[in-house]
């Protein structure tokens, strides 16, 4: 019924339908509109004379062109240019108006005249001729097409095709497979050279034991070893082939223990603190009879692996953090508020609505739990086991957040990718199910990875100079989930990945032994999607001076931020003295006990019980924060904000023209570029002297290739940021329609260039 082989191009050309009321602004395309196709991509259906809605009020800015459905994307080809100068980073896999099919959340057809509306699923019938097609996307875009000039039949067909291909019956029908197959067929030469499974990226994939070894060495986890009992997935279906276990546990023991764990997921090492404490994750123990014995064995082994034989604390995530369904519900709500609800009506109760969605509550809950684990590892010097029923969802979120807070390595670009690969992809997070790529089971869908990215953003927002990458990187990473060619987001676990490839190879009769060549690239090789110039948007100019070093008096000296530390000490100095004030008062209270009987409500003495962890946090906050050391997020509601770039980037009314953080980013970027130039100049003057080579790795700017997106201007007059910058940068809400019917507001009218205000009365009603 639905297989790749049937995908014959079903190209049909329709003459423009005879219309009695020909609209004045139709300009039949002169040149032929051709879809830009990737290797393996096939046009399934298309319709001509389709109008893509740009402006909400009028069709003045709308674009005319051809709507195409391929086995990869919904594409819109037009000769018209967008009405305004707009800025959007180009994706090499996708055109300006393209949406991957996997990115579609809902396909809705509308018939205006009949007042009908239908959400289309797979293999469905449509009883009316659609006049409009609205695509709700998983990246929060909403795109609308009108068929007022297209043939009714072709309009219907293209809608049905889009709906059908959005619901693939089998993972192998995801475009990635066709894409990979074509690449396999590509020249062998190319295969030999360029496209190794690593894809040219420095990010370790953790599919071999040496990469785990390196991680053990890096963290100094001497008493831990790589274990290979799960080779060929012999023990657990969802664990990776190689993972790290306490050195004191023999393979035989592990095999025996494994049968008592859900999914045979025995404890999995994540990370070691320099003090020797380990972060470990595991599934719940399925056999209650074995619970105690097993717990003890595991704990003993972990204690043995600790240089100080410190205790082990178990942290049960099923009890302490929201479940995946709650998180999904919160996401649905916040998406509704941010992009679906009428803009003006949601203005007045905006903050309350955000609060009611509970999304930020969950962000806080997860961060809070992670911070408490940090306290155990850092403050109590204890090893921690994160336990979750399946060990594949919130364990991923919490373990990776803990590591980001504790280990600055994971705040570098490569480090962060390593972390996602290690604690998400290899640990068996069900990306396929959670992303619901196959649209099979909505109950399995949950934006856990987005929740994680949001949490990272919150830390980044509080410590803007602590990360090598930018929030743009986080957004782009989240968007990449919806492009179905990356191994990172297509599978439920490593075994699923491997088996799918084997099956696919079989179905394509690939000679055995050559399956390895069929591979999905990980997302980490960003050149697949972006030009090097645009990848510079990932680099945080404020991170300059952290990884980079500067040459001083002939010696390379690391640019430590001693000064900054002492600066922060002023920040933190106040709470510290405050706390001392408390201590002092403890001593003075008894002396003045006559005062203690004063009206209680007048004093509101809040004698809180301060838990040891709270004490640890207060103490930490009273000291300077080192961006290269432990970072704890402030969890006050005033400090956890809505991630506006992610949630509001497509909303035209919420876009600040010429403003937003990018104005500051622009200046920082130019300055960082200038610093890099100076540094490379210094190096050149030094010549190939014996001066120690600058550190290798991503922090080293090569002289002709700066890492900064905005280059230092040649003139010395600082200029305002270019006008195309906006709070949505590097995305543009132009051409993305946020809701079917936009209510005119003064601001949106202004943004749309309208000069006429509504009458006084209407405005009065609107502002209320």
């Amino acid at each position: 019924m639905f297989s790749v082989k049937q995908l014959k191009p079903t190209f049909k050309s329709y003459l423009p339908p005879v219309q009695t009321d020909v609209k004045k602004n139709i300009q039949p395309p002169i040149k032929k509109l051709e879809a830009r196709l990737l290797p393996g991509e096939i046009v399934v259906n298309e319709a001509n004379f389709v109008r893509k809605c740009i402006g909400a009020e009028s069709s003045h800015d709308d674009l005319w062109g051809k709507l195409i459905c391929t086995n990869f994307k919904v594409s819109f080809i037009t000769h018209d240019a967008l009405p305004k100068e707009r800025f959007q980073v180009a994706n090499r896999l996708l055109g300006e108006h393209d949406i991957p099919l996997t990115c579609l959340e809902q396909v809705v057809t509308v018939n205006d005249t009949k007042g009908k509306k239908k959400v289309l699923g797979s293999n469905q019938k449509l009883k009316f001729n659609p006049t409009e097609l609205i695509l709700y996307c998983k990246d929060l875009r909403i795109v609308r097409f009108c068929f007022d000039e297209a043939g009714p039949e072709s309009a219907k067909k293209v809608c049905l095709a889009i709906a059908h291909y959005t619901h693939p019956a089998d993972p192998q029908l995801l475009f990635g497979f066709e894409y990979v197959w074509r690449q396999y067929h590509g020249s062998t030469e190319e295969r030999m050279n360029g496209s190794s499974p690593r894809g040219g990226s420095k990010t370790p994939l953790f599919d071999c034991s040496s990469e785990w070894d390196r991680e053990i060495k890096r963290t100094g986890a001497a008493e831990w070893r790589v274990c290979s009992i799960n080779e060929r997935y012999a023990i657990s279906p969802s664990l990776p082939e190689y993972f790290v276990v306490p050195a004191s546990l023999a393979d035989q023991d592990l095999k025996q223990y494994s049968q008592f764990f859900t999914d045979q997921r025995i404890p999995l090492w994540c990370w070691n603190h320099p003090n020797g404490s380990a972060l470990v994750r595991m599934a719940s123990i399925s056999d209650p009879l074995q619970q105690k014995r097993l717990d003890q064995r595991i704990c003993n082994a972990i204690i043995k692996s600790h240089p100080q034989r410190s205790e082990v604390v178990k942290s049960d995530l099923d009890k302490s953090v929201p479940n995946i369904q709650d998180i999904q519900n919160a996401f649905v709500k916040i998406r509704q508020i941010c992009v679906m609800d009428p803009f003006e009506e949601s203005e007045e109760k905006w903050l309350s609505s955000i609060e009611n969605s509970q999304w930020l509550d969950y962000v806080r809950a997860v961060l809070k739990h992670s911070a408490e684990v940090v306290y155990l590892l850092e403050g109590k010097n204890a090893s921690v086991i994160l336990q979750e029923e399946e060990d594949r969802d919130l364990n991923c979120v919490v373990s990776s957040l803990v590591q980001i807070m504790l280990d600055p390595h994971y705040r570098t670009l490569t480090g962060f990718q390593t972390l996602v690969q290690k604690d998400w992809v290899m640990a068996g997070h069900r990306f396929l199910d959670r992303c619901n790529h196959l649209k099979k089971n909505d109950k399995e869908q949950s934006p856990l990875f987005l929740l994680f990215l949001d949490c990272v953003w919150q830390i980044m927002n509080q410590y803007p100079s602590a990360f090598e990458f930018t929030e743009t990187y986080l957004v782009v990473l989240s968007d990449s989930m919806w492009i179905p060619v990356f191994s990172t987001f297509l599978f439920n676990c490593p075994r699923h990945h491997a088996e799918t490839i084997t099956d696919f190879a079989k179905s394509k009769s690939v000679p055995s032994g050559e399956e390895d060549v069929l591979h999905f690239p990980p997302v980490w090789n960003w050149s697949q999607q972006f030009f090097v110039k645009d990848q510079n948007l990932f680099h945080n100019p404020m991170y300059v001076g952290k990884g980079a070093r500067c040459v001083q008096n002939g010696a390379v000296k690391s640019f430590r931020r001693t000064k900054h530390k002492s600066y922060s000490s002023t920040l933190r100095g106040m709470p510290s003295s405050l706390r001392n004030g408390v201590n002092g008062s403890n001593g003075t209270l008894p002396r003045r006990n006559s005062l203690a009987v004063l009206k209680a409500d007048f004093f509101q003495l809040r004698e809180e019980e301060v838990s040891p962890s709270e004490h640890f946090f207060r103490d930490w906050f009273s000291r300077p924060a080192d961006p290269q050391g432990l970072l704890l997020p402030v969890l006050l509601p005033s400090h956890l904000a809505l991630w506006k770039l992610y949630f509001l980037r497509w909303v035209p009314e919420a876009c600040i023209r010429g403003g937003g953080f990018v104005a500051a980013y622009h200046k920082l970027s130019q300055l960082a570029d200038e610093i890099e130039t100076l540094q490379s100049q210094l190096r050149r003057y030094k010549g190939p002297s014996p001066a120690p080579a600058p550190p290798s790795g991503p922090s080293r700017p090569s002289s002709d290739q700066s890492k900064m997106y905005f280059k230092a201007s040649s003139s010395y007059e600082p200029s305002p940021p270019p006008e195309y910058l906006s709070s949505s940068f590097p995305f543009s809400p132009v051409g993305n329609l946020c809701r079917p019917s936009l209510h005119g507001t003064p601001i949106s009218k202004f943004l749309n260039g309208a000069k006429i205000w509504l009458s006084t009365e209407t405005l009065a009603n609107e502002t209320l």
Partner: protein, 677 residues
């Protein structure tokens, strides 16, 4: 004061990397005379404010303890100066604070010049809502309340200027028998402080002393501004010269002229003496118009668009009354204003009020221009509630942010105060005004009832959007002096300087609201304003402090009568004597750019670093501008290094022909950015 000096010192001369400064310059080069004289006067507003923003932390306790120790600090800090960034002197100071505090004389209260101690009470307990109670010594001067506790490690200092006190309340505890009293200071700057003390025999009650100096006008005393004796190197009273400002705008021109009709405030006592009105209007007619406008506040020009000649005109409501009175002269006056702008055949009136209120006003002899009597006039109501609603909103906001915040319902609690909603209405109104001028090329009349509250808010915000000059540190001062102070925003009534009648319904945080709107704009356009957040907070603090004469009294006429300019110091003297502290390092001139902030609650935020600054847990994020400053320092250092090497290279040999030297822009040392460090 002395403690700030290092900031200028090192900003001007970046520390050589890798080495200790051989000889540190005298630490007070910037403006020695007055500074030296006030070494002991650490508690001048400058130090407290600079601390604020530099720390950007809610400081219930201020940290200005000692200045005499900064030299120790610098000596000690010398050893790690090699690491580069020289701008972190506040850190030095702070370190100094910690360690130097041991040497501080415990009972020494820092005073500003002219300040005198009025009462000292020992064994007073401060009931801190954040960390429990502290017992220490309370000193009351004619300017501030100073509470200090040096027990138990680091000192605990509380410093409240009495101008900020809105209400004093006492609670006596009769059951106790030993004259223990409770005292609460409710402050205009969003905090409330609670003390407990024993009433001593033969000692004046601290409450009486506090009341006397917090509300001097009720006790026939003068405001502290008249006693303050600090001498600043810059005279802030010279910042605003109306003639110069109008000339900057290209006035007078053929349509608009300077009128002398109000020189002695005869026409309108709440207007400034210099007014800009249409050239063709006779004085006789103006007088008639004055009679037809509430409080005689006739339509006068505030701002003129340099290209289209469209103008912002401000006035009060017409006295139409229930019988629909007309005034031919007034009708002609508006027609003339419209005609002065050749680009448009319309004149738009923005009435800030709610239309229902405007209608009610008509019954009370006020009203609005009828479109049938004023042809080509378009009337818009901006639906902004009145001063009482705003006062109530801020009162609710205080409950939300002080002393404790409700973690679970923070957002909805903010919503319920409606504070941000009113901010949005104001910004949206100002955007409409600005857009009418810029895109519609149409002149506008902005007014409410009397034309001194919402009118000032809207006209000044619109001008800030339209004219990049007002976004500079100086220009903003001019804007405030012009649209608020000279045009008779009733600061004395709205703030209640030195007045104990806290329940007076004339009080309202209109200016605070305006500054909040400005802050919202700075958040949306982080590089478009020359001043920084500290500047805005400083302005608000001295709105209440009564330290400077800037915001005293209700009108220009009153200020002249009280000799404010000769007897008090201007806030701008203080600000402009150390502009570095108030400068935004991201600033680039958006010349000729009209800024349209997005008046949507999606992008409006509660200004927690002002409203919730007393809460020590409200620690701000690591400020981005700090990172920028560090990068600027790093660049300076690298530039110096590169130049040094170039010199070496060229003096030694071969490289002399290198073209690289001129290839990079980085060689020229002084970029405009430098001044911002």
């Amino acid at each position: 004061m002395d403690k700030q000096a290092p900031a200028y010192d090192s900003a001007d001369s970046p520390t050589p990397p890798g080495g200790v400064r051989p000889n540190r310059k005298p630490r007070t080069p910037a403006y020695s005379g007055s500074r030296q004289a006030s070494v002991e006067a650490l508690d001048s507003p400058s130090s407290s404010h600079v601390e604020w923003c530099k720390q950007l932390i809610a400081a219930t306790i201020s940290s200005q303890i000692s200045g005499s120790i900064s030299s120790d600090a610098s000596a000690r800090d010398g050893k790690d100066l090699g690491e580069g960034a020289p701008h972190c002197n506040d850190a030095e100071n702070h370190q100094a604070l910690k360690e130097g505090s041991m040497q501080v004389q415990m009972d020494e209260v820092p005073l500003v010049p002219g300040e005198g101690v009025k009462a000292i009470a020992k064994d007073v307990m401060y009931v801190c809502p954040f960390s429990g109670s502290v017992t220490g010594t309370m000193t009351i001067t004619d300017y501030k309340l100073y509470f200090a506790c040096f027990e138990g490690g680091s000192p605990f200092i509380l410093d409240v200027n009495l101008g900020a006190v809105s209400r004093l309340e006492t609670i006596s505890v009769p059951s106790n028998g030993n004259d223990t009293k409770g005292l609460e200071l409710v402050c205009k700057d969003m905090r409330s402080l609670r003390f407990a003390y024993k009433k001593e025999e033969n000692q004046p009650d601290v409450v009486e002393v506090l009341a006397k100096y917090a509300f001097p006008l009720c006790k026939d005393l003068t405001l502290f501004a008249f006693l303050y004796k600090e001498a600043f190197p810059v005279d802030g009273w010279k910042v605003y010269d109306p003639l110069m400002e109008y000339k900057r705008q290209g006035l007078p021109n053929e349509s608009w002229t300077f009128s002398k009709i109000n020189t002695n405030y005869e026409l309108c006592e709440t207007y400034p003496s210099l007014l800009v009105i249409p050239t063709s209007i006779k004085d006789e007619d103006i007088k008639r118009v004055a009679l037809f406008r509430a409080k005689h506040r006739i339509p006068v020009l505030s701002w003129i668009h340099p290209e289209s000649q469209a103008t912002i005109v401000r006035s009060s409501q017409p006295l139409v009354g229930p019988s629909d009175r007309r005034c031919k002269e007034d009708e002609r006056f508006l027609q003339t204003i419209m005609d002065a702008n050749a680009q448009s055949h319309k004149l738009t009136i923005f009435d800030a009020r709610q239309s229902s209120v405007a209608f009610t006003n008509k019954a009370k002899d006020g009203g609005y221009e009828s479109e049938s009597f004023y042809p080509n006039v378009e009337l818009n109501f901006l639906e902004i509630p009145n001063i009482h609603v705003m006062r109530e909103s801020l009162r609710k906001l205080k409950e939300v942010v002080y002393p404790t915040i409700d973690q679970a319902h923070w957002y909805s609690a903010i919503d319920q105060t409606h504070w941000l909603e009113y901010i949005r209405l104001l910004l949206a109104g100002a955007v409409r005004i600005a857009d009418k001028l810029e895109s519609g090329k149409t002149s506008v009349v902005v007014r409410c009832s009397d034309g001194w509250d919402r009118t000032a808010q809207l006209s000044s915000l619109a001008m800030l959007m339209l004219d990049s000059y007002y976004r500079t540190l100086r220009g903003f001062q001019v804007l405030v002096e012009k649209e608020w102070i000279s045009f008779g925003h009733k600061f004395a009534s709205r703030v209640g300087h030195g007045d104990e009648n806290h329940a007076n319904s004339e009080r309202s945080p209109l200016f605070t609201q305006f500054i909040d709107c400005v802050w919202q704009m700075t958040q949306q356009f982080p590089a478009a304003f020359e001043f920084n957040e500290l500047f805005l907070i400083t302005v608000l603090d001295h709105l209440y402090s009564c330290l400077f004469g800037t915001f005293l009294y209700n009108s220009e006429q009153e200020r002249i009568a009280k000799d404010v300019q000769t007897k008090t110091v201007s806030l701008w003297s203080y600000v402009n004597s150390q502009p570095e502290d108030f400068t935004n390092p991201f600033y680039v001139d958006y010349e000729h750019h009209v800024l349209y902030p997005l008046a949507s609650t999606r992008h409006l935020e509660l200004w927690t670093s002002y409203y919730a600054r007393w809460n020590p847990r409200m620690r701000p994020q690591m400020p981005v501008h700090q990172t920028l400053k560090e990068l600027l320092c790093l660049r300076t250092e690298l530039q110096r290094k590169v130049e040094e090497l170039q010199r070496e290279a060229s003096s030694s040999l071969s490289l002399s022909s290198s073209s690289e030297r001129t290839s990079s822009p980085s060689h020229q040392g002084g970029t405009p950015l430098h001044s911002a460090v």
